[in-house]
């Protein structure tokens, strides 16, 4: 971009009109910042007053915002969160790979691939329909019930449940991306002698993934909190650790602690998502202008 703006030399000094305009815009900017700050302060104060002035506020503060309980439960919950984080990374990677594979299988043409296609399609229908909690219960409680040799632990089974559910969502996102690439791109690639697979791999998929990276990341944000549902299967993650602490102290503060930690975990992911979305939007408008 900067290379296209080598204007410095040829620009005449600003005229009085231009300077007056710039001053006006500056004044407007200062004004809007002030207005925003003031209205935020007013709204914040009102909210605070409304909450702390509520008749039950003191009891709520005691049972949800007790600093001592928070300090005491924090290490255990952090330990649990570390499990959530590792689980998130593994599940996200597996779900992305599996989702992409399923999306690819759904695009295969030809009668030979009919069963594969049908299977992939029913997979996305089934797992997008079933609540994640049920999948977790079925995996974590049902599979060990089969008493098969080498059944993995509940952590792996619960993780598998998350991967199964999320890969079906991600597969649909990928598929939408694949279908959004204009057919002329496929024609151009095939006309160069690229095979169907090479066309997919080098031409269609890279463009599709770029286009759908915002919704993909959005699903990963959703996943980062849903990994907390693994606690239903038994492993001691942040949610389960908070639950145990609540049971011991008869105080709900650990839930608030866990909630705050989940938000902290989400912030970087959400920020990346927003950034990628913004970039994608810019690129799209650049493409449109070209």
């Amino acid at each position: 971009m900067p290379s296209q703006l080598p204007l410095a030399d040829g620009i005449p000094p600003p005229s009085p009109l231009q300077r007056e305009r710039e001053r006006y815009h500056q004044r407007q900017t200062v004004r809007s910042v002030l207005v925003a700050a003031l209205s935020t302060a007013v709204v914040g104060t009102l909210l605070l007053l409304a909450i702390t002035g509520a008749p039950g506020w003191d009891r709520v503060r005691e049972s949800f915002l007790d600093p001592d309980v928070a300090r005491e439960s924090l290490p255990r919950i952090l330990d649990g969160l570390w499990l959530n984080l590792r689980l998130l990374v593994v599940c996200a990677a597996s779900a992305l790979v599996l989702g992409l594979l399923i999306a690819f299988l759904r695009t295969l043409r030809g009668p030979m691939f009919f069963p594969v296609r049908a299977l992939a399609t029913s997979y996305t229908y089934a797992f997008r329909g079933v609540p994640l909690i049920i999948v977790i219960y079925l995996m974590a409680l049902g599979v060990p019930g089969l008493r098969l040799q080498g059944t993995p632990g509940v952590l792996v089974l619960g993780g598998a449940a998350i991967v199964l559910t999320y890969s079906s969502y991600l597969a649909e996102v990928f598929r939408a991306g694949i279908e959004s690439v204009h057919p002329s791109q496929r024609a151009a690639a095939r006309s160069l002698g690229l095979s169907y697979r090479q066309t997919m791999r080098f031409v269609i998929l890279p463009q599709a993934v770029r286009r759908v990276s915002p919704p993909l990341l959005n699903d990963l944000v959703a996943m980062q909190k849903d990994v907390g549902l693994i606690s239903l299967a038994g492993p001691i993650d942040a949610v389960r650790a908070a639950e145990i602490a609540v049971g011991n102290t008869y105080n709900f503060t650990p839930y608030v602690v866990a909630g705050a930690l989940f938000i902290a975990l989400a912030i970087p992911l959400v920020a990346v998502t927003d950034w990628v979305t913004l970039r994608a939007a810019r690129r799209q408008s650049a493409e449109g202008a070209a």
């Binding site: 024609a187 095939r190 006309s191 160069l192 690229l194 095979s195 493409e287």
Partner: protein, 275 residues
């Protein structure tokens, strides 16, 4: 190749398109090509028995009204569309045989589209070297050198590392032509390669196509640019509703058309063309 079949679909002439000993055997030989789109009642014929032979070093220009089937014919030759009836031979190979390896055939034919169709996620250089590297398994350095040589020839050496959206339309189209050329095709197809360009960018692309004619490239060109057709064509074919109604030397077809419909088409072009 399959054994030569009885030449039933050939009203053009009775020579055997697969005979390698025949010195006049064309590079491209379309015989009785039919193509319909749609199903049932909506079925509309777009190509209705096209006979067209293109010999080595020959430049054939297709003209005709919008919808007459020029693009469809080019796409059939490149196997982007499947023909219904008739045969197309490329250097004696029947490429309409359903058992033929379409990818291998397409490697022998270069096509350039109206909308460039460069890959937006790849640089110009990567656009051009994609097929040499992935299809022909050339080493990266070798493929890039070949690409850079060609880019230099068309005046785009400085743009090799740019993404397509940073190039002007004319530059993009020249890059697309290089992308097709780098595979050393036997035959080049051009489908209205200047229609999407601003008038001042048309010239640079047409000059490049003229250069290719100088190199002896065998080409089939669909275009609305009659001046260009006149300059570059060895033969002009007028397509009308899916048949080649008239063909011959450019001055003959363009200045002295025998068919009333050809005359009508050219007249309409003259009327709409800005003075």
């Amino acid at each position: 190749m399959a054994a030569p079949t009885a030449d039933s679909a050939s009203p053009a002439d009775s020579t055997d398109p697969t005979n390698p000993a025949d010195p006049t055997r064309p590079v491209l030989d379309c015989r009785g090509v039919w193509k319909t789109f749609g199903k049932g009642r909506d079925r509309t014929p777009v190509l209705r028995g096209i006979d067209l032979a293109v010999h080595e070093h020959e430049v054939v220009v297709l003209i005709g009204a919008s919808g007459s089937g020029k693009s469809t014919l080019l796409r059939c030759v490149n196997l982007l569309e499947r023909v219904d009836d008739g045969t197309i031979h490329l250097d004696g190979d029947d490429i309409t045989d359903p058992r033929v390896n379409a990818d291998a055939v397409r490697q022998r034919i270069g096509i350039v589209f109206q909308a460039f169709n460069l890959f937006p996620h790849l640089t110009v250089l990567d656009n051009i070297t994609l097929a040499p590297r992935r299809v022909h398994r050339r080493a990266r350095a070798e493929a890039e050198q070949a690409a850079l040589d060609l880019l230099d020839r068309v005046g785009l050496a400085g743009k090799a590392r740019e993404y397509p959206d940073r190039l002007s339309g004319g530059q993009q189209q020249r890059a697309a032509i290089v992308r097709a050329l780098v595979n050393s095709p036997r035959l080049m197809l051009f489908d209205e390669v200047t229609s999407a360009l601003d008038p001042e960018l048309v010239g640079e692309v047409l000059a490049l196509v003229s250069d290719l004619k100088g190199d002896g490239m065998t080409m089939v060109i669909a275009t609305h640019e009659m001046g260009f057709a006149r300059r570059v064509a060895d033969r002009v074919c007028f397509l009308d509703r899916g048949v080649i109604l008239e063909q011959g030397r450019p001055e003959q077809v363009l200045d002295n058309p025998a068919e009333p419909r050809t005359r009508q088409f050219l007249q309409r072009l003259l009327d709409t063309e800005p003075a």
